[in-house]
């Protein structure tokens, strides 16, 4: 789960991690009031959306006077910001962060991730701040330093000093950044984060270190024990259909093709999409119904898939282990009846209670296309779309 920059910075403040003075605003007037309260002569106005690349898209603007703060905020709020991370549709800006601007001497990168290679929380740092860390790692791997944390003892001071020295800091600066890292690690661990990024960490001309931009994302599986993080979820930043699907315990991701997919298991769901594309079709979505799929769940899956107007055929591929083909078949029959489905439906069932499942489908008198295995199913679904197009 992602949160906004201003929320991450509020969380940082509660851990005493230094961030620029600033507050969120929902209108030009509010932005002006915030800037008046902040000391200083220059301000920065930052659009708050869950996507990077804002600066190049006009979502981060400097203001040399109070009028400019109001103007920038008015311009940003209500606009649809298109960055290289948002896709063509962009994101609607509903609020801005207004901060005091600082004269910057130097920029660095600091990040914390759960690294798959070490299977541990790992600190990543670089003297190349403000840049995409993946690019730095690809082009100048020696400029990225890593330090894995032993979960039994937590981040040690020597590791923090090693990182600080590794990004070229000297003297008192080493202690300053080491302290900051320790707090950042504690925040990451306490809140069940998956990723925290300070990019850039800046050294101001008056010698302070500040988290100029801050990003965090959290483990969805741990939200049950993180109520204050759960409260920060912004549903406006998520695809409404994906939110609806997750409410029904379905895992749905919209894609841009026309073959709707209903599958159990993430791996089989991906393989089904791959098979559709192998036969020249394009999947309209990823959808995993998971284990224990009741007839209601299958009906909900149909409804969500068919809300996409591009869908010209639906492919159901269920390999029942923990699921049962008879329950799935009941769900399919119920959905085809209740939803008055007009597009062709290709059904491939296998596994537990297959015979009973097929009997239910064949006995229903409904029109559907039966497939015996994966390639048969993918090919029939692709042909059904071609038939519907011609």
């Amino acid at each position: 789960m992602d949160i906004h920059e201003y929320q991450t910075k509020e969380l940082f403040r509660s851990y005493d991690i230094p961030v620029p003075d600033g507050r969120v605003a929902h209108s030009g007037k509010q932005a002006l009031a915030v800037a008046e309260e902040l000391n200083g002569e220059r301000w920065v106005v930052k659009a708050q959306i869950h996507a990077g690349g804002r600066g190049k898209a006009g979502g981060v603007l400097m203001a040399d006077n109070l009028e400019a703060v109001e103007q920038h905020a008015d311009k940003m709020i209500g606009m649809t910001l298109v960055t290289k991370q948002t896709g063509e549709a962009g994101r609607l800006v509903q609020r801005v962060l207004v901060e005091q601007a600082h004269a910057i001497a130097q920029e660095f990168y600091l990040g914390l991730v759960i690294d798959r290679a070490t299977q541990r929380i790992t600190l990543i740092a670089s003297a190349s701040g403000g840049m995409n860390i993946e690019e730095v790692a690809a082009t100048n791997p020696q400029k990225v330093i890593r330090e894995a944390v032993d979960p039994a003892v937590g981040l040690q001071d020597f590791q923090s000093r090693k990182i600080a020295a590794g990004i070229g800091l000297t003297g008192k600066q080493i202690g300053q950044v080491a302290k900051m890292l320790k707090k950042l690690y504690r925040c990451f661990r306490d809140k069940d984060a998956l990723m925290a990024e300070i990019n850039p960490l800046v050294l101001t001309k008056d010698g302070q270190f500040l988290a100029l931009d801050a990003k965090m994302s959290f483990d969805g599986n741990a939200l049950y024990r993180q109520p204050e993080i759960t409260d920060l979820r912004d549903f406006d930043e998520e695809d409404p259909k994906e939110v609806e699907a997750s409410g029904h315990d379905l895992n749905y991701i919209a894609l841009d093709g026309n073959v709707g997919c209903i599958v159990n298991g993430a791996g089989l769901a991906m393989a089904t999409m791959d098979a559709i594309s192998h036969y020249g079709g394009r999947p309209a979505n990823f959808l995993d119904v998971g284990g224990g799929a009741s007839p209601e769940k299958i009906a909900n899956a149909f409804r969500i898939v068919l809300e996409d107007p591009n869908v010209m055929a639906v492919l159901i591929n269920i390999y029942a282990g923990i699921n049962r083909c008879d329950w799935i078949a009941n769900g399919i029959v119920q959905a085809i009846r209740d939803l008055a489905i007009e597009v062709p439906v290709v059904v491939r069932l296998a596994g537990t209670n297959l015979e009973q499942g097929l009997q239910i489908l064949q006995g229903s008198g409904l029109e559907y296309i039966q497939a015996d295995h994966l390639s048969d199913a993918a090919e029939k679904a692709v042909n059904a779309v071609k038939g519907a197009e011609s």
């Binding site: 759960i114 299977q119 159990n264 298991g265 993430a266 791996g267 791959d274 098979a275 295995h373 390639s375």
Partner: protein, 292 residues
């Protein structure tokens, strides 16, 4: 022969008296799995499905000699259950539970250091040695004894591969689903090492997916250490970057994470790569035949 589990394995279920554990324990027993009991804290001393229930894993091990455990404990308590099994000396721990917080697994992996336990999962369909022992939630009837060692991240795609192999007349020595989480118990290499040392395994089929470098790491290992043919399929060629495809671990975060990049790299390393999801069985068959 087989790997991890066989007809002599003594299996317990943690979270034994719960609905899912009960159903799958019964299914396992129907297949002939030697289920010796289970653990549900607070219900020790009672009997469930005709087997003894214990309060602690240590007690279950002491009384029954259990060496394999299937964990069906809910996510908030699962990490504790895994560590309890490790501490009690269980040799193979199969974690069926889906949705364990990642940082809990980071701690579990640290705890497991210095112990001999092999942890399979979490979020796995489990381990099955056909006609001998089932520790998981897979439909046992589709698996047939044979010479293919199967290791996958996904459960249902594992079933799909088995069905395609059945159509080619190929059975399995053992099938292991290692699970789809980013921090999990054992990786592909741990299981491949077992298959390499198993006389019943003639060839190994690895079913991976987008995200991470596990499949490539395994192929690099196999190039150095494995004499048996390795066949691989990577799911997710059509997955868009940056989106988590169901499994928490299945996300393309860089160029090397994509299915195509992984497949190319595996081919360079001498792996028989399956090009189309529907050709898994055929590719295994031709790899096995070409060796004779």
């Amino acid at each position: 022969m087989s790997v991890l589990v066989n007809k002599d394995s003594k299996v317990i279920f943690q979270g034994f008296t719960g609905q899912h554990a009960s159903f799958h324990a019964e299914e396992a027993m129907k297949m002939g799995t030697n289920v010796v009991g289970g653990v549900t804290p607070g219900k020790g001393g009672s009997t469930h499905l005709g087997k003894p229930v214990f309060d602690t894993v240590a007690e279950a091990v002491r009384v029954t000699g259990a060496d394999v455990s299937a964990i069906f404990v809910p996510p908030p308590f699962a990490a504790d259950a895994i560590m309890e099994a490790i501490e009690a000396g269980i040799r193979v721990i199969v974690v069926i539970t889906d949705g364990i917080p990642v940082q809990d697994m980071v701690r579990v992996k640290r705890y497991a250091l210095g112990h001999q336990a092999i942890i399979v999962g979490p979020n796995t369909a489990g381990v099955i040695t056909p006609a001998e022992c089932k520790v998981g939630i897979m439909p046992a009837h589709i698996y047939r004894p044979g010479g293919i060692g199967l290791v996958s991240r996904s459960g249902t795609l594992n079933y799909e591969a088995v069905e395609q192999m059945n159509a080619e007349g190929l059975g399995q020595s053992t099938s292991v689903s290692i699970g789809g989480d980013p921090v999990n118990g054992c990786d592909f290499i741990t299981i491949m090492e077992e298959f390499q040392n198993d006389s019943a395994t003639e060839a190994v089929l690895m079913i991976g997916e987008i995200g991470g470098s596990q499949e490539v790491d395994a192929a690099l290992w196999a190039q150095q250490h494995m004499t048996k043919p390795l066949i691989a399929f990577i799911a997710g060629a059509t997955a868009p970057p940056g989106r988590r495809m169901g499994h928490a671990g299945a996300i393309i975060s860089g160029e090397s994470d994509t299915a195509h990049a992984k497949m190319r790299r595996l081919e360079e390393l001498g792996v028989h790569v399956v090009k189309n999801a529907a050709d898994i069985g055929k590719t295994v068959k031709s790899a096995v035949d070409s060796r004779i």
